[in-house]
């Protein structure tokens, strides 16, 4: 509607175009590889796909060791997202609404967990989860990922919740709402967008993490990312299958982005606009 003042600068379209090419090129190459046979890959170099073969994909979908990995990954990511958002909601409410003994220290301590290199925890995790009998379960990975996802979730949600006027809470209490009823009926619908954004980030960080996921699983809950290391066989690398498996790991992410594309900008503002 309004004629916005120009924010253009020379070469801006070129910059965006170049960066998009840079982003897409490796992905294109993997997709390209995924549709070639291993022999073709190693024998002839080709810039463009010559024949579209789905053989690599079929192999993945018919081998339970392969597709089981996807299911395992999705299960622990889902558990982690639910648990993280679930425990973060009341905590973020407490941080955004009240001051209490040690609140600042607690918040800071939570954030330091985001700064802990997962490598530091590898061994202790292994021992701890073995001790409590959680090794090689989806729950183990979900719990381990909560170390970095819960602080993040609390932080993002707190930003969104602080944007909701405190007077709404008070009005509800004056109206006679009990805390649980107010929280469920009135407050949660107001931070729906925030919860969605938070879930997105939890999904993202749980989905992309491998080190802990691989360490804490062996068979039953083995993630797809770990399965992919299997492709090194006696006959050398099975590039085609590896690429196809890689392409398949892009899909959940791409799908989620597509659903939240309208909220991405807002999400990265962490509700603190």
């Amino acid at each position: 509607m309004s004629s916005r003042p120009s924010r253009a600068f020379p070469g801006r379209t070129l910059l965006i175009a170049l960066y998009c090419v840079f982003t897409l090129a490796p992905i294109y190459w993997m997709v390209h590889m995924s549709m070639r046979s291993n022999e073709a890959i190693t024998s002839t170099f080709s810039w463009l796909p010559e024949s579209l073969s789905l053989a690599n994909y079929i192999r993945i979908f018919t081998d339970p060791a392969w597709y089981g990995g996807y299911i395992n990954s999705l299960i622990y990511v889902a558990i982690n997202t639910l648990l993280s958002v679930g425990v973060a909601l009341p905590a973020a409410y407490a941080f955004s609404r009240y001051s209490f003994l040690g609140d600042k220290h607690l918040f800071f301590w939570l954030l330091t967990n985001r700064m802990t290199p997962p490598a530091v925890f590898l061994l202790p995790f292994f021992q701890l989860y073995t001790a409590v009998g959680l090794m090689d379960t989806h729950l183990a990975v979900a719990l381990a990922h909560m170390v970095f996802n819960v602080p993040l979730a609390v932080w993002i949600l707190e930003g969104f919740m602080s944007a909701v006027p405190r007077e709404i809470d008070e009005t509800a209490y004056i109206d006679g709402y009990s805390f649980p009823r107010f929280f469920a009926r009135i407050f949660l619908p107001l931070v729906k967008a925030g919860s969605g954004v938070t879930a997105f980030f939890c999904f993202m960080f749980s989905w992309v993490e491998l080190l802990l996921a691989r360490t804490l699983t062996s068979v039953d809950a083995k993630p797809i990312a770990a399965t992919m290391t299997r492709t090194v066989s006696a006959a050398g690398m099975d590039w085609g299958t590896l690429a196809a498996a890689g392409v398949l790991t892009l899909l959940p992410g791409a799908l989620v982005i597509w659903f939240v594309r309208k909220y991405i900008a807002k999400g990265f503002a962490m509700g603190r606009v």
């Binding site: 007077e167 709404i168 009005t171 004056i174 006679g176 709402y177 009135i186 107001l190």
Partner: protein
């Protein structure tokens, strides 16, 4: 409802110094004071949203409700921001306190419909608050508060965020809405004329202290102290420091200008008093001398503010600035010499510590 020695602190900050206050039952109680005078703190204490640091809050029946949680009290509150539940429709917003209280569905429907009718919201019942204009949103908040039929209705500057004309309109509706109810209304405002137009009782707050309580006009006309007179004055009270000259029956201003004072005033003052502070309300100053003999002060126009039906003429002279509220539109240029007239009988007189010595008769 009664507050006994209530004070309120948060950290090192004191919001309310110990004060006792009795609300006039089933009437409008106006809390009048500048921003941060403690109005909101007092309202929140009454609602139970704040626990007083000292003192007790007593309900109408004399029961101590200081520690009764908000949920269990029979109160309703309207904020200056338009606070409604954004995810509920207008209908559900108004119905919400009734639903929580477990009122029968049919009765809820009747009460919401009636309330919507009174507040002219019938056509928007199925909309969401964000789709309404500011005036409508605030009417929804009012409707929700009124529908609850609580013993105590608290309003915290409910009109301040509305356009001028909407404010005027809603302000005229309010007393009518409250009149039909058995509710004690507490209405906080910064605007003295709002207190006068709503009538009822006025409680004047200055810097966390209650300085005067009483029927609105009484407090307006007979302030007991200078701060009370200043707090209940818009435009600001004209304050004229002066020395008394009993021999000549006049007051001397800073630049030795003499103002003749009425004998009735002088007669009430002890001879020992030297310095006083004269107070004069802006509407008592005129641009033309009336029929009766009048005092005059010459000065230069600082600004003529035109409000529409009235003009606020700011005039200053050596160390003294005055404002006159005169009817009609007067366009005066800045710096123009001008004389203001007033009747000495309209002067308030305070001693140097601000206690009232003399008040004009009404």
């Amino acid at each position: 409802m009664q507050l006994v020695d209530v004070s309120l602190r948060s950290g090192s900050e004191t919001w309310l110094y110990p004060l006792s206050l009795t609300l006039a039952r089933t009437q409008i109680n106006v809390l009048l004071g500048a921003t941060r005078a403690g109005k909101t703190s007092l309202l929140r204490t009454l609602a139970g949203l704040e626990r007083p640091a000292t003192g007790r809050v007593l309900s109408a029946g004399g029961r101590d409700v200081t520690h009764v949680p908000v949920r269990a009290r029979s109160v309703a509150m309207v904020y200056q921001q338009f606070i409604n539940y954004p995810s509920f429709t207008v209908y559900d917003n108004i119905a919400s306190p009734l639903r929580v209280a477990g009122v029968a569905a049919r009765e809820i429907r009747e009460r919401v419909t009636a309330m919507a009718q009174t507040l002219r919201l019938s056509s928007v019942l199925s909309r969401y608050p964000a789709e309404l204009s500011g005036g409508q949103q605030q009417r929804v908040a009012l409707a929700r508060a009124l529908a609850k039929d609580a013993d105590l209705l608290l309003l915290d500057e409910p009109l301040v965020n509305l356009d001028f004309k909407l404010r005027e309109e809603l302000r005229n509706e309010l007393p009518r809405l409250f009149a039909r109810r058995e509710t004690t209304v507490v209405y906080a405002t910064t605007e003295p004329h709002e207190a006068l137009q709503l009538g009822g009782h006025t409680h004047l707050l200055v810097a966390g202290r209650l300085v005067q309580s009483g029927p609105a006009l009484d407090v307006f006309r007979r302030p007991t102290t200078l701060p009370a007179a200043q707090a209940f004055s818009d435009p600001p009270l004209n304050v004229i420091p002066a020395r008394l000259d009993f021999a000549r029956g006049s007051a001397l201003l800073a630049d030795d200008m003499a103002l003749p004072l009425p004998g009735s005033l002088l007669a009430t003052l002890p001879r020992s008093i030297d310095g006083v502070v004269l107070g004069l309300r802006a509407h008592q100053l005129t641009l033309a001398p009336g029929d009766e003999p009048a005092c005059r002060i010459d000065g230069h126009v600082d600004l003529a503010e035109i409000s529409g039906s009235e003009t606020y003429v700011h005039v200053s002279r050596a160390g003294l600035s005055l404002v006159a509220q005169v009817p009609g539109v007067h366009r005066l240029s800045i710096g123009e010499p001008r004389t203001l007239y007033f009747k000495a009988a309209d002067l308030y007189c305070f001693d140097e510590r601000g206690a009232l010595l003399f008040s004009p008769r009404y």
